[in-house]
Structure formats: C-alpha cells, structure tokens
C-alpha cells in the first residue's frame, strides 16, 4: 500500500518506533514537548513515552550535549534536537572535541551512539544568526557522521539508521522540507548511512545536491528537460561518510559537474565534491565545474536582499545552460507569482 505522509510525520514515526523497540533511546531538546513540537516531528511523543524519556531542556546547549555524550557512554542512545543548527555552535566542544574523539581515543573500546538533530533553513527574515547552513564544519571532522535527508522516505530511513548507528550523527533537517510529502512504509526500515541517491537520472550533466537544494535542482532539471537538456541529480544524503563512488560514476557518465549546496561555497562541502572529482577524474570534465551555494556573506533579513541570497532552480538551470555553452535565455521563474521567502506550496511532492 502506498502511504504518502509528510517529512515531519516520517521523522515522528521513526523516533516513535525507535523508542518502542529500544528502551535505551530517549529524546530531548528545546521545544520537544511544546505545542509546536519541532514542526510536529515530536508531537505526541511525551504523551506516549512520558516526561522521563521525552523532555525539554534548559537553555544549555553545551552542557546538554555533554549530558547526551555521557548518557551515550553509559549505554544509552540519546536523540537530541536543536531548533537551529546555529545553536550547535555552543556545543562544538562536546561534539568535536568529545563525541567525535571518544571511539578512536579509547582505542575503539567505547562508542557514542548519539543522534543530534538540527535544522537549517531559509526565508522569512531569519537573518544571519538563525539561518546558517553549517554542515561543512561537521563534515570536516572524522569521528562524526553527517546526514541531510530530503524526502520523507529518507527522513525516516536515515533517522532510524542514525539512531541505530553506534557513532555521533549530525542529523540535519531543512525547515522547508517538513511539509513535503512522499511514500513512507509503516514498518521500520533503514536507509544506510553513506549512500547517495540518484534523485533523477540524466546524461548531460551531474548536479550533486545537498538537502533542500536537491528539490531546486530537480525543478531545474525539469526546466532543462524542456530545452532537451537531461540533467542527473544526485542527492548526497550522507555527507560523511561520503558516497564517492556514486558521485564519481555519475560524473564519469555525464562529464559535467555542478554542486548545489545549501551553505557557503568557500571552504564548504561543495569544494570537497569539486576537489574529489578533480583528483579522481582528472581530464574527464568537458567543462569547468560550477558550485552553486550562498554568496560569501551573512544572511540579510530584508526580503529584498534575501531573495538574491538564496539560489533557486532558475539559477541552477541558467548555470547549466551556460555550462553546456547554450545562449543565456530568460528562464521561467517557478513558482510564479513569486513570494520567495516562504515555501512554495505548489512544490511539496510527493517525492
């Protein structure tokens, strides 16, 4: 039976099923039990599992991440949530200096089975301190795993795989994905960490995309199809460990590489993809690779500038045409009429 549910429902179901099947799993974080329930992803869980296993926390990101690390070292499997990835910067010492190091520095005798959910996003004047996309910082650190699901199917399957994984996982969600729908099986299943997904097959160029940008890339690909350009969209899904094989295979096939990232380009995740291809597929690119990401400046709040700040399908499509040496052409902006700082209701799947 083909059940379509939303991204937030998929996350909610994953946590519920993990908590039902494993008493070591518990869930906490700012807002977890509150009326908004982290965009609905934690709704009903405190009622279901009680305030001991599902609870809110003091405004203490560093300390509470340490609490999660300690609980994990003592045999639990905590799931922690941060309402914005910007807040995880307060917990960097625990995440990078502690959680990421414990297994290796104990000679492999210890594990930190910890899932840290956090949220990136765009829109509605969130501004420079509330809309950063800092996954590159974590993808740089050996000992961490970094996961960024796009579809409801992956959201559930990757979250289950993350909670079952014996390592600290940065599980990064995107605000604009919570309302996206898609097919999600009711039973427990896993999407293995470390496997990219060919989101759309194509032959003319490869667009390696991160998180929400996968949808913009997909939309761009649909536009490009109208021009007879057949773009392959690779959803990275797991940034660390990285599925180099799938990415390189795709680029070997298409001979062209574009990376669409939700974050900054400079010393960002997109740089790693371009570098890998340059190292491993030297001389096989038909044209220079292109990185699409945030311009090298903080996020402005005013929509007048934010609209220029966030790359969208039109930019990807235009860059693709340029890459293929086609004349610049006025591309249809979708959605139209445009209100660019809120999610496009007309584009919520099913994916």
């Amino acid at each position: 039976m083909n059940r379509n549910i939303t991204y937030y429902q998929a996350l909610n179901e994953a946590i519920r099923q993990m908590m039902e099947t494993d008493s070591r799993v518990f869930l906490f974080g700012e807002g977890v039990p509150d009326p908004k329930a982290i965009f609905g992803s934690t709704a009903g869980l405190q009622e279901r599992f009680g305030p001991e296993r599902v609870f809110d926390m003091p405004l203490s990101e560093a300390g509470m991440t340490g609490v999660a690390v300690g609980a994990a070292l003592a045999g639990m499997r905590p799931v922690m949530t941060h309402q914005r990835i910007d807040f995880t910067l307060l917990a960097m010492d625990q995440i990078v200096n502690h959680a990421a190091k414990r297994c290796y520095t104990s000679g492999g005798r210890q594990a930190v089975p910890l899932t840290i959910r956090s949220i990136i996003g765009r829109g509605w004047g969130q501004g420079s301190q509330h809309s950063q996309s800092l996954h590159a910082m974590y993808a740089h650190v050996p000992g961490l795993k970094v996961v960024m699901p796009v579809t409801p199917y992956d959201a559930k399957g990757l979250l289950i795989a993350s909670v079952e994984d014996n390592n600290p996982v940065m599980f990064i969600e995107h605000r604009w994905l919570y309302g996206v729908t898609g097919h999600v099986p009711e039973e427990i299943y896993r999407v293995p960490l470390g496997q990219a997904n060919i989101f759309r097959e194509g032959s003319d160029l490869t667009i390696v995309a991160v998180s929400y940008m996968t949808l913009e890339a997909f939309r761009a690909a649909e536009t490009l199809a109208k021009f007879g350009i057949n773009a392959e969209v690779v959803d990275v899904r797991t940034l660390r460990p990285l599925d180099e094989t799938t990415i390189l295979e795709s680029v070997r096939k298409t001979g062209r590489l574009m990376v669409a990232d939700t974050g900054w380009g400079t010393v960002g995740f997109s740089a790693e993809i371009v570098a890998r291809v340059a190292e491993k597929l030297h001389g096989q690119l038909k044209s220079a690779p292109i990185r699409i990401g945030l311009p090298d400046c903080p996020t402005p709040t005013t929509p007048a500038l934010a609209d220029l700040y966030y790359p969208r399908a039109v930019h990807i499509a235009a860059a693709a045409r340029a890459m293929l040496g086609l004349a610049a052409e006025e591309l249809p902006e979708t959605p139209t009429p445009v209100q660019l700082d809120v999610p496009d209701k007309s584009f919520t799947g099913p994916f």
Binding site: E30, G31, D34, P35, K36, F55, D56, M57, P58, L59, S60, E61, A62, G63, D86, F87, L90, W124, G125, Q126, G127, S128, Q129, H130, P295, D296, C297, P298, P300, T301, T302, P303, A304, L305, L308, Y309, D341
Partner: protein, 337 residues
C-alpha cells in the same frame, strides 16, 4: 506573586524620584506599548517579513532600566529588544524601517527585529542567540574601566539566558574585575512555551549573585519605579567603582513568544495567572500613581497618547515609503574598511 518579592513599595521618602523622570517613564512605556500594538496590527499585512518578538506587558523593565542610565551608557539586548531600543533612545523611524526591511532601517534592513542596533543611543548589540550579549556587555564595561570613563554598561536578558554557561562566566569575570555593569534579568517565567520550573532547579535568579560576591535584588518588573530604584542603586555602585549588580525583574509577556498574536489557546500558561498579571499592567500602575500624586492629569495623559500615536504613524509611513536596499548592497558591509 507579590509575596515572593523582596520589596513591594516603590517609593522611598529619602531619595524621591524626580517628577520628570516619572513622566518620562510613563511616556516611554506608552510609546513602547503602542508601538508593539501597532506592529501586532500591521504584521498581518506581511510586509514586516522577519521573526518579531514583542515585549507588551514588560515595558517597565526596559524603561525602568534606561531611566537610570545616561545617554552615553551602553546597553546590550536580545531578539526581544524593541522596548530597550526605544527606552534607550533609539530612533523609532529607523526601527520601523528595519522591521520593514528598508534601507533606512537602523541596520539598513540587514538585521531585522532580532538584531536592532543603535550605536548613537548606546544599544551596541541585540542578539538572536540567547545569552550571547551578556559577556559582551561585560566587555563594554571592561572598555569603560580601561578608559577610566564614568559610563556603565547594562546587559538586558531573559530568565532562560541565566541557564547559559556564558551567563555564569560573565558574572564571575564582571565581579572579579569589579566592572561597571548591570545584569538586568527580565524574568517572565517562560522560555518560549517552557516554564522556568522545567528549566531551573531553583526560582532564585537574584540570589545566585552571591556566588559571585555580587549584590542581587528581585523587584516587581511591572512597577517601573521599583525597577528604576534598584537600577539607580546599582548604577551608583557601578559609577563609584563598586562593581556589578544583578537585578531580577519579574514580569509577564502578554503575547506569544514570537509573532503578533496572543496564544491562550495553546494553554501552556495558566489563564488566571495571565489575567492577574494583565490586571497589574505596568502602565496603568504608573498612571494611577502619577494621578494620585497629582503629577499627571487627563489632558497630559491625552497629550502623551496623541503625540505617541502620531509619532508611530509617522514612523510607519516613513518605513512603508522608504526604499528597499539596492541589490548592490547584498555583498557590502561584510568587512569593515
């Protein structure tokens, strides 16, 4: 909750509060209240496109604080800083324009409601990160001390901010170096939807000052005069080299945590408690006091209202009619020249 307050009577005969100060406080509170109300009305037009945290009901804390500060003193705020911005003398037009994302805004539209700034009025930083500006206020106090100035610096923050490690670190260093800083905690009992009892082991914020060898007092944050008196004491101490102070002002947020609406329907707050607080409206309380003391009459009250409303109307018109920043500004100002 009056019973769990240190002192409940605002006035001391010893050192009376100048009438002008009290009138100023009243006017500023009305200005802030009406500004927030105007924003609440206009927000639904969706032309202010940024997260907006209103401070309706809490005006007495910001105003009581700033009444005790000089124009050249520093303050540091939070994402909920409309009140402190206006109380410290920030320009209303520029604030409105900022909320509308216009180039005439106090941050050229790049900061929004959560990051208001007014260097000329002494608001050096408002941060969207809880607790973020507390150590910064201490740093400004350090600058004051290094320059042998007479100024003071004030950190304005909520009850949940005291849960952040930087609060502890800032308190310790401020006291260690006897810096001229006032820690003004606006305790409205909630962090978004979460009551302080779910976040803090003890409801004793002001008492924690003792850990740092710092004086700490609790005041009724809905009594502007009481807040002001505590501030006056703390400021005198700071200016005379006596070091920092912590003030816990207990108050209540009338609207939702973020956004223009009320949210009783979410019932995370006890409606009776809420009603009790609203009947203790800080503006009405000062109004009554001034009226009793015959320091304000109907005509003055009406005049204040008239002026304030037209100021707000002018600011909204200014904001709406101002241009957006030009596309060329996107990459400008990342680095200071």
């Amino acid at each position: 909750m009056g019973n769990d307050l240190e002192k409940s009577e605002p006035m001391t005969a010893v050192n009376p509060i100048p009438t002008e100060t009290m009138r100023w406080m009243y006017r500023q509170m009305v200005l802030i209240r009406e500004t927030e109300e105007a924003i609440a009305r206009l927000y639904h037009e969706q032309q202010m496109r940024c997260p907006t945290h209103l401070c309706g009901g809490q005006e007495a804390v910001a105003v009581g604080l700033c009444a005790g500060l000089r124009a050249d003193d520093y303050v540091f705020g939070t994402y909920r800083s409309h009140g402190i911005y206006l109380a410290k003398g920030g320009d209303l037009k520029q604030m409105m324009a900022e909320l509308y994302g216009k180039v005439t805004g106090c941050a050229r539209g790049k900061g929004g409601s959560m990051q208001l700034v007014s260097p000329e009025a002494g608001l050096l930083c408002a941060s969207a990160l809880v607790g973020g500006t507390i150590p910064e206020a201490v740093g400004a106090a350090l600058a004051i001390k290094l320059r042998r100035e007479e100024r003071v610096s004030a950190a304005f923050f909520g009850d949940a901010a005291t849960e952040e490690g930087v609060w502890h670190e800032a308190m310790n260093f401020a006291s260690l170096r006897k810096l001229p800083v006032i820690f003004m905690c606006e305790n409205n009992f909630f962090a978004v939807y979460t009551h302080i009892s779910h976040r803090q082991a003890e409801d004793n914020i002001y008492k924690r000052a003792a850990s740092y060898g710092m004086p700490g007092v609790r005041v009724d944050g809905n009594k502007a005069l009481e807040v002001y008196e505590a501030v006056r004491e703390a400021v005198e101490r700071a200016r005379s080299g006596g070091g920092p102070s912590l003030i816990e002002a207990r108050t209540y947020r009338w609207r939702e945590h973020c956004g223009p609406n009320c949210d009783e329907e979410l019932s995370y707050r006890n409606p009776d408690e809420a009603k009790a607080w609203m009947t203790r409206c800080p503006i009405q309380q000062l109004d009554q006091f001034l009226t009793q003391q015959q320091l304000m009459g109907d005509s003055q009250r009406a005049a204040v209202r008239r002026e304030v409303l037209s100021e707000i109307e002018a600011a909204v018109t200014f904001a709406k009619s101002s241009p957006f920043p030009d596309a060329s500004e996107l990459m400008q100002g990342v680095y200071a020249p």
